[in-house]
């Protein structure tokens, strides 16, 4: 599988990653090489094989009681944010 520059630009956009001009050729090359490498999986006979959903068989996803267990940590959590105001996270204007 060989990716084009356009493919990589599209993937980067989907992944919300800015890739600079200088970085681009290396990603086109290495991503193509990785896809060629994983291509060997296509040779494995997997008809009727159930895809693995969990490393441990018979595990049941637990449910917990629908009760409040946390107290308010908003101020502590927002101390890590770049921009907050009145308890809200600030982002660039979305609606003109």
């Amino acid at each position: 599988m060989t990716l084009t520059r356009r493919d990589v630009e599209n993937i980067a956009h989907l992944a919300r990653l800015e890739i600079t001009e200088a970085e681009m050729p290396a990603y086109v090359g290495s991503l193509s090489a990785i896809l060629a490498f994983v291509e060997q999986l296509s040779g494995a006979a997997t008809e009727d094989v159930v895809p693995m959903a969990h490393p441990l068989e018979g595990q049941v996803q637990r449910l917990r009681v629908d009760a409040v267990t946390e107290s308010d940590h908003r101020d502590a959590y927002q101390a890590n944010a770049a921009a907050v105001e009145a308890g809200l996270y600030l982002v660039p204007k979305v609606i003109e």
């Binding site: 990716l3 990589v8 993937i11 980067a12 956009h13 989907l14 992944a15 919300r16 990653l17 800015e18 890739i19 600079t20 970085e23 290396a26 990603y27 290495s30 991503l31 090489a33 990785i34 896809l35 490498f37 994983v38 291509e39 060997q40 999986l41 296509s42 494995a44 997997t46 094989v49 159930v50 895809p51 693995m52 959903a53 969990h54 490393p55 441990l56 595990q59 996803q61 637990r62 917990r64 940590h73 502590a76 959590y77 101390a79 890590n80 944010a81 770049a82 921009a83 996270y89 982002v91 660039p92 204007k93 979305v94």
Partner: protein, 486 residues
């Protein structure tokens, strides 16, 4: 014998018998860190004040005759574990300003056991790497030869314990990130069964594979720390609700009559001759001690690496979508709009290998490619899992090398991601199948440590530790330390 020649268990016993205080022990290790870390770069953060506070608290407990085997014993945490009030960087620029508001469960439990936190260790960025060269904070050097890598991604934890800057360390293992650096630095690297240890507060990479574990000087140390961190946690619904055995008490379990399977696929092309010879010699010693050794084929195991490089990037692309520059972590300056905020923040905040894996994952999950890559890989994963299950119908444990070669030179593999990925060729299988596995030192090749890997069925931690312990009672490889740090 100097303090740093003692294992964590031995230090614990010394503290209880009042041979020394935790403040003395802690100061000894803080001095060693100050002296050696500038070269090794094993730490992102040294928590000197916190360590001395912890030590004083531990001494007060010990003076009252309280505390357990780990009370007052220093340790270091891989910087992937959230520590309240302390930088938790995950080796990334993205989190280079992130001071966690809470403790990971692993951190909380070892704190409750009375352990003393010396600091947070360097690591491959978001645990994505096998050499500790992808860290935003620069590469870690291997104490056995500082021109070489310590392995990764828990490279800082491995280097810190190998140089005896700390008696023991935590790590995480998604594709070999405890066992591989353990092998390359002469340590006991223990990865428990998937779900055995809570992942609450452990920064996520690939959630169907990630598991916390220990980098230690001995099986006994690994047993003590594992015993403290294992068990169900209501805050991690993937942690398994099964009783935790007394791992330390189980160490003495006899291993006579052990049925060992040698994985044929682990001794093929690519295995460096000296490494292969050391591992074979170790297995021969088990045979001489009465173990029954058979050679087994796990035919799908060679597909582990390509399977992993579909599954792990897919899961990482999803997990790392949370880094958006809004709620925490790095944020770019003066974005044009919201999309540009995301893109420039992530473009600047992530390093090259993390971006490569996010893009690989985004591609294999994208419309039209899901069946060909992700679904196919999960099917091959079932085949690999079935290979292991069949093997464990015949044997108690599987053995082979942990890595194909001893530690390689810094920079030797950074230009070719696939060559780097193939370092984990022997370790990834256990992650894909969720199995516990341990690497124990079994020799030196040209002065560099070699690891013997022992893999067991789900929840066979006790047996793996007993096997490792029996090996360490018969050999002294785990007691060797690099001359410069003796």
């Amino acid at each position: 014998m100097s303090l740093h020649h003692a294992t964590a268990a031995e230090i614990g016993r010394g503290l209880h018998s009042r041979k020394y205080s935790s403040v003395e022990v802690t100061s000894h290790f803080l001095d060693r860190i100050e002296k050696s870390n500038p070269l090794l770069n094993a730490f992102v953060t040294v928590t000197r004040e916190r360590a001395l506070d912890d030590a004083r608290r531990a001494d007060a407990r010990l003076a009252k005759g309280e505390g357990g085997p780990l009370t007052g014993v220093p340790l270091v945490h891989k910087d992937i574990f959230c520590t309240a009030g302390i930088l938790t960087s995950c080796g990334s620029r993205m989190l280079s300003n992130f001071v966690s508001p809470y403790d990971a469960t692993v951190v909380e439990r070892l704190d409750a056991a009375g352990m003393v936190l010396l600091g947070k260790t360097n690591m491959d960025e978001f645990a994505m790497g096998s050499s500790n060269e992808t860290s935003y904070f620069g590469p870690v050097k291997n104490p056995w030869d500082t021109s070489r890598v310590p392995g990764g991604s828990s490279g800082g934890s491995a280097a810190a314990v190998a140089a005896r800057l700390a008696p023991v360390a935590t790590g995480t293992d998604t594709g070999g990130s405890i066992r591989q650096p353990g092998a390359l630095t002469g340590l006991t690297g223990f990865k428990p069964t998937y779900g055995r240890v809570s992942r609450y507060g452990m920064i996520a990479f690939a959630s169907s594979l990630d598991q916390a574990g220990v980098l230690a000087q001995s099986a006994e140390d690994a047993a003590l720390v594992l015993g403290a961190i294992a068990g169900h946690d209501p805050r991690d619904s993937t942690s398994v609700d099964a009783p935790v055995p007394d791992y330390a008490a189980g160490l003495a379990r006899p291993v006579r009559g052990l049925r060992i399977g040698i994985i044929r696929e682990f001794f093929g092309e690519g295995l460096e001759a000296g490494t292969g010879a050391a591992v074979r010699a170790a297995i021969d010693s088990f045979r001489a001690e009465g173990a029954k050794v058979v050679e087994l084929s796990l035919p799908n195991l060679p597909l582990s690496v390509p399977t992993y490089y579909v599954v792990a990037p897919a899961e990482c692309s999803s997990n790392l979508s949370r880094y958006d520059g809004v709620r925490f972590g790095h944020r770019s300056r003066d974005p044009r709009d919201l999309i540009d905020l995301y893109k420039s923040t992530r473009g600047e905040g992530f390093g090259a290998e993390v971006k490569r894996r996010i893009m690989t994952g985004t591609y294999v999950l994208s419309a039209g490619y899901y069946d060909a890559y992700y679904l196919k890989a999960q099917k091959v994963r079932s085949l690999i899992n079935a290979d292991f299950r069949r093997a464990f119908e015949q044997v108690d444990v599987l053995m082979g090398p942990t890595t194909p070669t001893p530690a390689f030179a810094i920079g030797a593999k950074t230009d070719d991601p696939i060559t780097m990925y193939l370092n984990d060729i022997y370790t990834i299988g256990a992650n894909l199948a969720g199995l516990p596995a341990v690497s124990v030192p079994c020799g030196l090749v040209d002065g560099l440590p070699v690891g013997l890997q022992v893999i067991g069925p789900h929840f066979s931690e006790e047996r793996l530790l007993a096997v490792a312990h029996a090996w360490q009672r018969a050999t002294d490889w785990h007691r060797r330390l690099p001359a410069a740090y003796a």
